[in-house]
């Protein structure tokens, strides 16, 4: 068995114990890795007490790599985290790149299951065989960039092989419900607020340093495959665009079809859009390129703002979602302020999508008199007020004044403000929607609705396939040419969920760096690295089971059909622009989807579906519930 490190760490923060558990070969084959492992382990940990608060010590937090993590290959650096989400109350997960996952594998671990809660701040120190819980009192209260620098300095590690950090900032410590985990300085496990789970566990950071290597089962074949993939990558315009300008390329592309939400989803066009596009970014803030472990795509960029009110030193540049959410969503044409907001979110440890969307929501509430200047310590929350947006981002991270209300997430804040505030929400299951408009591509609407973690464009590959970055002619069940509208989107979602679970949740491929890969190539790479002899059919069955498991866990936590609906804001047809008059037909799509997926009319997996997918334990828990 290649690709795997061969063991997990089980860390009980309450008892202060660390146990090493071997990875079983059959378990690896049946669940591949990443969230495939995590969802199984999560269910195992909660099965005896499935009802608990996300901040309770019982909430297991799982870090997991895939078999490809640590193999030098384009788009294969990613790894995953999961726990019950403090933001949604449902299943929460996030997927992140960088170097941490590869380093963890090189230290000898495929992942770690962290349970309990420490009585005082701790960090986890991992250097190959040596794994310890250490006092983190001196780091508590520091932002993630500072804790990264101080931890590395205090450990006295040499610059050549200094290991990597994963930490929370003041937002995680203060239980901001969309707090993120930040790896080094800027790779974020952002969605669903899992940084706050660390805050509740008094876990400040993990340091990992590994001296081993991840070995593929068939190194000679992998070398040959790399050669074959080189041509594929060289021909890909999508990859060339990622290399040139990164994900912000979408500012120029998405505006054509009406994919970019503007003014809290009230518009799809704006005369100042170019102020936030790749050309403006290159001219005003670009400061270099960055990449993840072993990936030649290098889609990540650095930014610098040399002076002015939004001055920031060289650091990670905002990616597309961040540019849109702090820029177009707030009618804010200042790319410098967007870069600053990104830096604040990274340092404080907050999800930029939820934070920016919550600010756009607050601006619309302010416009309608639901929030007054007296509530904001004088901040004029007007559209495009860059200074106010930055000040509010800081306030949320510190839970100061109105920031404390917004730190609960926009759905809870709407309940607090009352009136018509709920009309301005963009959430599904409490998670703020990403920056892709389902009025442009109706399949996204269904994807947001039925995703186990809430409104999410990466919970399956629907966004990539309907949006067009992925072309998978070898994937069974995909319609070659989708008709316009909502027709056939249920089938599209089902296929993209099954395959997406394998591709980006288990393997764990990057949805950007892996964009040129067909399904056949994916199977080939997985078999080459693991030494297993998966067929595409077998992998899709594993993917289907994982999707149902995650959906089932979210169902156990109480989600039903009503939670699969899009908010009013996303269902409101726009009078003009590329999506004029268009809204997804959610009733049609949900009815078709539930039928194909084997869900009840209320949206939970039927006993027959669970049995057919070897999910008897989940079926038993539903019976008890």
């Amino acid at each position: 068995m290649g690709g795997y490190a061969g063991q997990f760490l089980q860390i009980d923060l309450t008892a202060g114990t660390i146990t090493k558990l071997p990875l079983d070969k059959a378990f690896a084959r049946n669940h591949i890795g990443g969230l495939g492992f995590s969802a199984e382990l999560f269910l195992e940990h909660i099965k005896n007490k499935p009802h608990f608060d996300a901040y309770a010590p019982e909430n297991p937090f799982i870090v997991m790599t895939g078999p490809l993590t640590g193999i030098p290959l384009n788009g294969a650096a990613r790894w995953t985290v999961c726990a019950k989400s403090p933001l949604t109350g449902f299943w929460g997960d996030a997927n992140v790149g960088g170097y941490f996952g590869a380093e963890l594998k090189c230290a000898g671990y495929d992942g770690m299951i962290i349970t309990g809660a420490a009585p005082s701040p701790v960090y986890i120190y991992i250097h190959d065989e040596l794994v310890e819980l250490r006092d983190a009192s001196q780091y508590w209260g520091l932002d993630t960039y500072t804790v990264n620098d101080r931890l590395l300095a205090d450990l006295g590690v040499d610059a050549k092989h200094q290991g990597h950090t994963l930490s929370i900032g003041p937002a995680g410590e203060g239980l901001v419900r969309f707090a993120a985990l930040i790896h080094n300085k800027g790779h974020a496990a952002g969605r669903t607020g899992l940084g706050a789970v660390w805050g509740s566990k008094k876990l400040k950071a993990i340091y990992v340093c590994g001296s081993g290597k991840v070995k593929p089962a068939h190194p000679a074949r992998l070398k040959q495959l790399r050669g074959e993939l080189k041509d594929l990558y060289a021909e890909s315009i999508g990859i060339a665009a990622m290399r040139a300008t990164g994900t912000v390329t979408h500012m120029d592309v998405g505006i054509i079809s009406g994919d970019i939400p503007i003014k809290n989803w009230n518009q799809t066009d704006w005369d100042q859009i170019n102020e936030l596009g790749p050309a403006a970014i290159e001219e005003k803030i670009h400061a270099g390129h960055r990449t993840c472990f072993g990936c030649g795509v290098a889609c990540k960029k650095d930014a610098r703002v040399p002076g002015g009110p939004f001055k920031m030193e060289k650091g990670p540049a905002p990616e597309y979602e961040t540019v849109a959410v702090f820029g177009t969503m707030c009618l804010n044409p200042s790319i410098e302020s967007v870069a600053k907001a990104n830096e604040i979110c990274n340092r404080m440890g907050m999800d930029t999508i939820s934070c920016g969307a919550t600010i756009a929501f607050a601006i619309e509430c302010f416009e309608h008199g639901l929030i007054r200047a007296a509530d904001t310590d004088g901040l004029q929350l007007a559209w495009g007020n860059s200074e106010a947006i930055i000040a509010l981002t800081e306030k949320i991270g510190k839970k100061e004044g109105i920031g404390a209300v917004l730190a609960e997430g926009s759905a809870r804040a709407a309940a607090h403000f009352g009136g018509q505030a709920a009309d301005f929400l963009t959430t599904v299951k409490g998670l703020e929607a990403p920056m892709h408009d389902p009025r442009n591509a109706h399949g996204f609407g269904l994807a947001y609705g039925v995703s186990p973690r809430g409104a999410c464009h990466e919970a399956s590959l629907t966004f990539e396939v309907e949006g067009g970055t992925f072309y998978l002619p070898d994937l069974p069940g995909l319609t070659a040419e989708l008709p316009p509208g909502s027709q056939d989107r249920a089938q599209l979602n089902v296929v993209c969920q099954d395959y997406g679970m394998v591709f980006s949740h288990c393997a764990v491929f990057c949805n950007l760096g892996g964009m040129p890969l067909t399904a056949t190539r994916t199977v080939e790479i997985l078999n080459c690295v693991t030494g297993f002899d998966y067929t595409l059919e077998e992998l899709l069955a594993i993917g289907r089971r994982l999707w149902l498991l995650k959906r089932g866990i979210t169902g156990l936590f109480g989600a039903r059909r009503k939670d699969d609906q899009l908010p009013k804001k996303l269902m409101q047809p726009l009078p003009e622009g590329p999506t004029a008059g268009s809204t997804p037909d959610m009733e049609l799509m949900l009815a078709e989807f539930y039928k194909i997926r084997g869900l009840t009319e209320d949206g939970v997996p039927t006993p027959v579906t669970l049995a057919a997918n070897r999910l008897e334990q989940l079926a038993e828990l539903f019976k008890q519930a």
Partner: protein, 137 residues
């Protein structure tokens, strides 16, 4: 069969449109700044057009297969027609090789915001230039 019955029809439509673009400063100035020479190789029906932005004014040359183009764009006439309505999913068309772009990708990408106004120009142009029968997508 595609929307355009023959090369002559499509050539009239597309060359006329490119000439209109060349005379529209809002777009033309940005294209001239790129200094690109772009050859469009259309098929079904076959038409070749060069849009030369390397001179003082944009030159549109039909049938020019000799010019040294910096960017080569290949696509069917139907995809091109749909593109100028702003109705092509560009990402998908490129991934599926319905549109093939060869040349410096960063420079090609910079054209996208420059040509955005043309999506509203195209249907108006079809109506006002005697091609209203093609104002469908």
């Amino acid at each position: 069969m595609g929307l355009f019955a023959n090369s002559e029809d499509f050539e009239k439509v597309i060359v006329g449109f490119f000439n209109l673009v060349a005379e529209t400063p809002e777009v033309a100035d940005k294209l001239l700044a790129s200094k690109l020479v772009i050859r469009f190789n259309y098929h079904d029906p076959e038409v070749v057009v060069v849009v030369d932005c390397s001179q003082e004014k944009i030159q549109v040359r039909s049938g020019d297969k000799e010019a040294q183009a910096i960017v080569e764009m290949s696509m069917s006439a139907d995809i091109a027609h749909k593109f100028w309505f702003g109705k092509v999913n560009l990402t998908m068309a490129l991934a599926r090789r319905q549109m093939i772009a060869k040349g410096p990708v960063p420079k090609i990408l910079k054209l996208l915001p420059a040509i955005r106004p043309t999506y509203t120009m195209y249907p108006r142009y079809l109506d006002t230039s005697g091609h209203s029968n093609y104002n469908v997508h």
